[in-house]
C-alpha cells in the first residue's frame, strides 16, 4: 500500500491506496466524488478529465499514488448549483449537453482551453476539445457554450482572474 496525501477541491485527504488504483477510481470510490465519469478503458473519451495543479489530465491515466502531493479539481470543485462557474452557466444556457455523461469532463477541458487561449476561434474550440467525445450533441452547442463562456469571462475579467481557474485553495 502507498500513502497518498492529496488535495481535492481545496480539502486535504490522506489515504492508504494500492499502487494500481487509478486516480478516477480514488475520486469516485474512495472520496465518493462521482461527478468525474469513466467512459472508456483506453484514455480516449475524456469523460474522466480533471485538473491536476490547474491543468487538464485524464484521471483514468494517472495512478492515485502519482497524484500524491498535488492538487486535484473535479467538477464538484468547479462550481455548484448555488454558484455555477461561467462555463457551467454557458453549457446550461446554450444547451451544451443532452444526456450529460460527457459534460463534467467536457467542462473541465473547456476551462483548460480558455486558460491557454481566452479568446478562441470556433476552429480552436473544436481542436481544443478533440480529446472529449460526446455522443449526443454533435458538438455544435458545446462550441456555442464555450464561445459564450469566453465572452462572459472576459466581461468579468477583473473579478475572475486566471487565479480563479486554478484549483480552489491552490493560490
Amino acid at each position: 500500500m502507498e500513502t497518498v496525501n492529496i488535495e481535492v477541491n481545496g480539502r486535504s485527504y490522506s489515504n492508504e491506496v494500492e499502487p494500481r488504483l487509478l486516480l478516477v477510481h480514488y475520486l469516485r470510490d474512495t472520496l465518493g466524488l462521482t461527478g468525474t465519469h469513466v467512459g472508456c478503458d483506453t484514455s480516449s473519451c475524456g469523460a474522466c478529465t480533471v485538473l491536476l495543479d490547474g491543468i487538464s489530465v485524464k484521471s483514468c491515466t494517472v495512478f492515485a499514488a502519482q497524484a500524491g502531493g498535488h492538487a486535484v479539481t473535479t467538477i464538484e470543485g468547479i462550481g455548484n448549483s448555488g454558484a455555477l462557474h461561467p462555463m457551467q452557466e454557458a453549457f446550461w444556457a446554450k444547451h451544451g449537453l443532452q444526456c450529460g455523461f460527457c459534460t463534467p469532463g467536457m467542462i473541465v477541458s473547456c476551462i483548460d482551453l480558455l486558460r491557454r487561449n481566452p479568446d478562441p476561434s470556433d476552429a480552436e474550440i473544436r481542436a481544443g476539445i478533440e480529446g472529449n467525445l460526446c455522443r449526443c450533441t454533435g458538438y455544435e452547442n458545446i462550441v456555442r457554450a464555450v464561445r459564450a463562456a469566453a465572452a462572459a469571462m472576459k466581461a468579468d475579467e477583473p473579478r475572475r482572474s486566471v487565479a480563479e481557474l486554478l484549483p480552489v485553495g491552490a493560490s
Partner: protein, 325 residues
C-alpha cells in the same frame, strides 16, 4: 491490472538503480502509454519507477542545440518560443498529437518510446511477435490497413506511432541517455531498430537506461519547415501518412533538404536518397515527384495498406510544395 510495486525516484541514479535491480521494472513518466498497456495486460511490470520528480523538464537553447528535457511535456514543448521559431515542424507535429489532456501529461521521452498501435499487439489473445516473440504476426494476412510499408520484415509490419519523432529524425536529434554503464548520446536515426527477426527489440536502449533529454541541432533553414499529417479524421487520430520537410531554397534552387516520413515506417523514416536527389534540383513539382518516388523505393504493401504507398508519395509532394511556396 496486475499488482505492482511503486517507487518514486528522487534522483536519476536512484531511478536507474531501482530499474536495474528488477528485470521487470518500468519507468513511468506521463503514463499515457504504459497505463493503457497495463490495463490491457500487454505490460505487467513488477515495479513502476515514477521519474516525474526528476529535474528533466527544461527546454533551452544551449550553444547551437535546443535541449529538451525528457520530462518536458508535449504541450510545453509545442508552445515554447525557441522551438516554434527554430523548427516549426516540431511544434506542428506535437500540436497534432493525441489531445490537450494527453499532451499536458505526456513527456518527450515517453513519446519516443511509445509502443505501436497495432491492434494485434494490443490484444493479448492474438498472435504477435513483438509482444510474444515466436507467436506469429496477426497483421500479415490480417487486418493491416494501419500497418507499415517501409522497413517491414516477415516477422512484423507495425508502424512506429510517434508524430514528433518524424521531424526529430529529420533534424538529426540526439537522445541523451544515462544508465548503469554511464551516459551516452545516440543520434535518433540510430536509436530505433528495424524489426528484422527481433521485433520485440525496438531501440538500442538496455534495461535500466533512462532518457535524460534530447539535443536538437539548430538547422539554419529549420524555420522553413512543416509537418503534414494525413489521418482518417481531422483531429485526434494517428497518421495514415505524414511528412516532415525542411528546405533551404535560393533563387528557385534547392540547396539542402531534410525529409522524414511517419505513419508508413516501422521506424520514423528518413529517406536520405530523396534528400540527395533534391540537393541542387529546381523547386518544382517534377523534382518533388521524383523525390517522392525515391523516398518510397522498396515500399511494400500487405493488402489493406497498399494505398499507403501512393498516399505517402502525395503527402510528401504536398508538404514539399507547402514549404517551397
Amino acid at each position: 491490472m496486475n499488482p505492482f510495486r511503486y517507487e518514486r525516484a528522487q534522483s536519476g541514479a536512484a531511478a536507474i538503480a531501482a530499474a536495474q535491480h528488477d528485470g521487470d521494472a518500468r519507468f513511468v513518466a506521463g503514463g499515457t502509454n504504459i497505463l493503457d498497456l497495463m490495463k490491457i495486460h500487454v505490460e505487467a511490470p513488477s515495479l513502476l519507477v515514477d521519474i516525474n520528480r526528476l529535474p528533466l523538464s527544461k527546454i533551452e537553447l544551449r550553444g547551437d542545440s535546443v535541449h529538451i528535457g525528457a520530462l518536458a511535456r508535449l504541450n510545453d514543448v509545442a508552445a515554447h518560443p525557441v522551438v516554434r521559431q527554430a523548427f516549426p515542424m516540431v511544434a506542428i507535429a506535437l500540436e497534432q498529437s493525441a489531445s490537450p489532456q494527453l499532451r499536458n501529461m505526456a513527456s518527450m521521452g515517453g513519446n519516443l518510446l511509445q509502443r505501436t498501435r497495432c491492434a494485434y499487439f494490443r490484444d493479448v489473445a492474438a498472435p504477435c511477435n513483438k509482444r510474444a516473440p515466436g507467436s506469429g504476426c496477426g497483421a500479415i494476412g490480417g487486418e493491416n490497413r494501419m500497418e507499415a510499408i517501409l522497413g517491414t520484415s516477415e516477422r512484423c509490419i507495425a508502424t512506429h506511432a510517434s508524430d514528433v519523432a518524424v521531424p526529430l529524425v529529420a533534424l538529426d536529434a540526439v537522445v541523451n541517455v544515462a544508465g548503469p554503464q554511464g551516459s551516452r548520446s545516440i543520434v535518433l536515426s540510430d536509436f530505433y531498430r528495424l524489426p528484422g527477426a527481433t521485433p520485440h527489440l525496438e531501440t538500442v536502449l538496455v534495461h535500466g537506461e533512462l532518457i535524460t533529454g534530447l539535443s536538437v541541432p539548430v538547422l539554419p533553414f529549420g524555420a522553413r519547415s512543416t509537418y503534414l499529417k494525413v489521418r482518417d479524421r481531422a483531429q485526434y487520430e494517428f497518421a495514415l501518412g505524414s511528412a516532415a520537410v525542411a528546405l533551404d531554397i535560393e533563387g528557385g534552387t534547392i540547396r539542402q533538404a531534410r525529409l522524414a516520413l511517419g505513419g508508413v515506417g516501422t521506424v520514423p523514416w528518413r529517406p536520405r536518397a530523396a534528400e540527395h536527389d533534391l540537393t541542387g534540383a529546381p523547386a518544382t513539382r517534377t523534382a518533388f515527384e521524383g523525390a517522392a518516388e525515391a523516398a518510397l523505393t522498396g515500399a511494400r504493401g500487405y493488402g489493406m495498406n497498399d494505398f499507403k504507398i501512393a498516399l505517402a508519395k502525395r503527402t510528401l509532394v504536398r508538404a514539399l510544395e507547402m514549404v517551397a511556396a
